[in-house]
């Protein structure tokens, strides 16, 4: 590895899809002993694969469609200080394996750990300023934690525990409260996620006859989707107005029913048709964008900037500045600055279709675009990341100068330590899908399975799955399907 590299660090988790930038500093003639600093630093680093790097084989197994191998690969990864991240991945993998109980236990533990980590350890923070953000326990972020109820609700429904699913729904709505009088102040990420969450929980409440809760969630979802539609063209799910209208009728809110039916005269017919929808599919595809490390390596040369030195040079070389520049540079230190950037993980899937037994083909709708959500979350976090990188660089310079002043050997050692420990924090919940689409369908009783087609941009089938169903005359069956391609 070229030590003068500006480009992706070893945390690069998407090597199959991009080529690293490698501009080089030319004509640097540095003593071999200084190159040894970098060599030693990288030898030190070799044994320290990050959690994100360890997760790459797991993700590759999923792309290959081998969930048991992904689980087996995951079991080899130790949690350490990244226990929260480990729990999130564990919860998700267990759900993919159909182990709903284990999935819920892992997500439950993740939520508890997240709350514990609200209290920041000062010693950890100090340590991270001398090493890297990776030395801090993984704390996750709002966007990742907000997805736990989505998965837990589904798990409880699979376990036949609808009451517990509703507990999760209430918990999620409470945690992500929406003040409908203050929606104009909401950010894009908030609007997108809370619109989806409220639609999701509203459907659950409505399907369980909890109409008071359903109307609150569906009203919120409707208003947020409409706001998102006005602000950034967020599509309103096709059946949402009908679901909202239905809930308003159930609760007896005549004014609200009228406010809905005046601009949408067809809503009553839609609601009537909606009563026949007995299956809802959540189709997940792709992978969320991941964080990859960007490294900047700078050799800092010794400068002779005092007046006496300048006089000496002037006497020796006169006005021949070229003679001065031709002198071999003296290396003071190597400076390594690492920070993360977000990289899209390409997905072959552009659209999805669900084929009913009678051959009717239903197009899906965007429920939640986690690609955009992750991007917005990263932008929100970027200021903090850059500030921390700046402070860390200053702190490391301070320790290096102190060490260099004590002795040269100690200075070199500190330089090795600083370069070796500088790593971008690329940790994230890598296995999440890039997007969640949804479709409601009226499936005839006795139907054993539905065909789900994941299509590329040209309409070619990327993956086709037969999804078992058990449609009932009343109620809504919840199904999730994931495509990793």
């Amino acid at each position: 590895m070229n030590p003068y590299r500006v480009g992706r660090s070893r945390d690069y988790v998407g090597a199959r899809h991009a080529s690293p930038l490698q501009p080089k500093i030319q004509n640097s003639k540095l003593p071999l002993k200084h190159l040894a600093v970098i060599g030693l630093a990288f030898l030190f680093l070799e044994g320290c694969a990050t959690f994100s790097q360890n997760m790459v084989p797991v993700r590759d197994s999923l792309i290959a469609g081998d969930i048991p191998k992904a689980v087996a690969d995951f079991k080899k990864i130790s949690a350490g200080k990244d226990d929260l991240l480990h729990m999130l991945q564990q919860g998700y993998l267990s759900q993919l394996s159909g182990d709903w109980l284990d999935s819920n236990n892992a997500f439950d533990a993740a939520e508890k750990r997240y709350e514990e980590l609200y209290t920041v350890s000062i010693s950890n923070e100090v340590f991270s300023l001398l090493t890297s953000d990776n030395s801090r326990p993984y704390r996750s972020n709002e966007q990742e934690m907000a997805l736990i109820p989505y998965y837990r609700i589904f798990n409880y429904l699979q376990l036949g525990k609808a009451d517990d699913a509703m507990v999760e729904a209430r918990k999620a709505n409470d945690k992500h409260k929406v003040d409908l009088t203050q929606t104009e102040k909401m950010g894009e990420r908030d609007i997108r996620f809370k619109a989806f969450l409220n639609y999701y929980t509203g459907l659950l409440f409505a399907s369980r006859g909890e109409n008071n809760d359903a109307i609150v969630s569906l009203r919120t979802a409707f208003k947020l989707y409409r706001l998102g539609n006005t602000k950034f063209s967020l599509p309103v799910p096709r059946w949402l107005p009908a679901d909202y209208y239905d809930a308003a009728i159930q609760v007896g809110l005549k004014d609200e029913v009228r406010r809905l039916s005046d601009p949408y005269p067809e809503i009553a017919a839609m609601a009537s048709k909606n009563h026949h929808n007995n299956v809802i599919l959540f189709l997940e595809s792709g992978f969320v964008p991941y964080r990859e490390g960007i490294d900047i390596f700078l050799p800092i040369l010794k400068t002779d900037d005092d007046k006496e030195a300048a006089k000496t040079y002037y006497k020796k070389y006169g006005g021949d500045i070229y003679a001065y520049q031709a002198r071999p540079p003296k290396l003071d230190q190597f400076l390594r600055i690492s920070y993360p950037k977000l990289t899209m993980f390409p997905s072959a899937v552009a659209s999805m279709k669900v084929v009913l037994p009678n051959g009717e083909s239903l197009s899906t709708e965007r429920g939640l675009n986690l690609g955009i959500e992750t991007d917005l979350q990263f932008k929100q976090d970027s200021g903090d990341i850059l500030l921390r990188t700046f402070i860390r660089t200053l702190a490391k310079q301070g320790t290096l100068k102190s060490a260099q002043d004590s002795s040269k050997g100690l200075g070199d050692l500190m330089n090795i330590f600083n370069v070796a420990t500088e790593q971008a924090d690329t940790r994230s919940w890598l296995l999440l899908p890039e997007r969640i689409d949804l479709v409601k369908a009226s499936v005839p009783a006795g139907t054993a399975s539905l065909t789900v087609k994941f299509l590329d941009a040209d309409g070619n089938v990327v993956e086709e799955k037969q999804v078992p169903v058990n449609p009932q005359a009343h109620g809504l069956q919840w199904i999730t399907v994931r495509c990793f391609k």
Binding site: Y118, T119, V126
Partner: protein, 204 residues
């Protein structure tokens, strides 16, 4: 050996760096009295279940419905435990205090409790099995179950308020004893629990 200020600083930073590696404490387990109040997360726990059951038991067994029933019929009332709907935002094992209430009712000697919906399914399976496999002397007859006079039902509701590391949790548990024949609510018990949970932003 006297160290310079800079050397001391380097040594201090080295110690702090090493301290970062020693972040993981070992797990310890010890037995404690089940009556001891221990609050960890602030979520509903065994102490809350105990507070609810104690309050409900005291209230239910001292309420006038029991005496009225005994005077009117000359026997103890029979109660069946129905369901307690969890409308809170936490996963609460409602069976914990429901069983406490059942136990207190039975032990008081003034109330009879019959098996719940779930429990009697298992008992009926056993009785059905006896019809085929048990000896005539030990065989228990079908259709001889004691019908309950009252059903205990209820729900738990919760209201939360939170702001930057501070949280307020309010739980309200309502239990109702309903006369199965007439639907008349004979007794209503209520227990309110309010908790304040504070969490510091920093620790050493």
């Amino acid at each position: 050996m006297i160290l310079s200020t800079k050397s001391r600083m380097v040594a201090l930073l080295a110690v702090l760096s090493l301290a970062g590696f020693w972040g993981c404490a070992s797990r310890t387990v010890s037995r404690i009295d089940p009556g001891t109040q221990v609050d960890l997360s602030g979520d509903w726990n065994d102490t809350d279940a105990k507070l609810v059951s104690e309050e409900m038991i005291n209230d239910c067994l001292k309420a006038p419905w029991l005496l009225r029933y005994s005077k009117k019929t000359g026997k103890s009332p029979t109660v069946i435990a129905g369901s307690i709907i969890n409308k809170s935002m936490e996963h609460i094992a409602t069976d914990v205090f429901l069983m406490d209430i059942e136990r207190a009712m039975i032990n008081s000697g003034s109330v009879e409790v019959v098996a719940s919906n779930v429990e009697r399914g298992e008992v009926r399976n056993e009785k059905a099995d006896q019809q085929v496999n048990a000896s005539p002397e030990t065989l228990k007859k079908m259709g001889m179950e004691q019908g309950a006079d009252y059903m205990l039902i209820g729900q738990i509701n919760q209201i939360n308020d939170a702001e930057e590391g501070k949280q307020l949790k309010y739980y309200q548990t309502d239990l109702t004893l309903v006369n199965i024949e007439t639907n008349v609510k004979t007794w209503v018990g209520q227990k309110k629990i309010k908790k304040y949970i504070g969490q510091g932003k920093f620790q050493p």
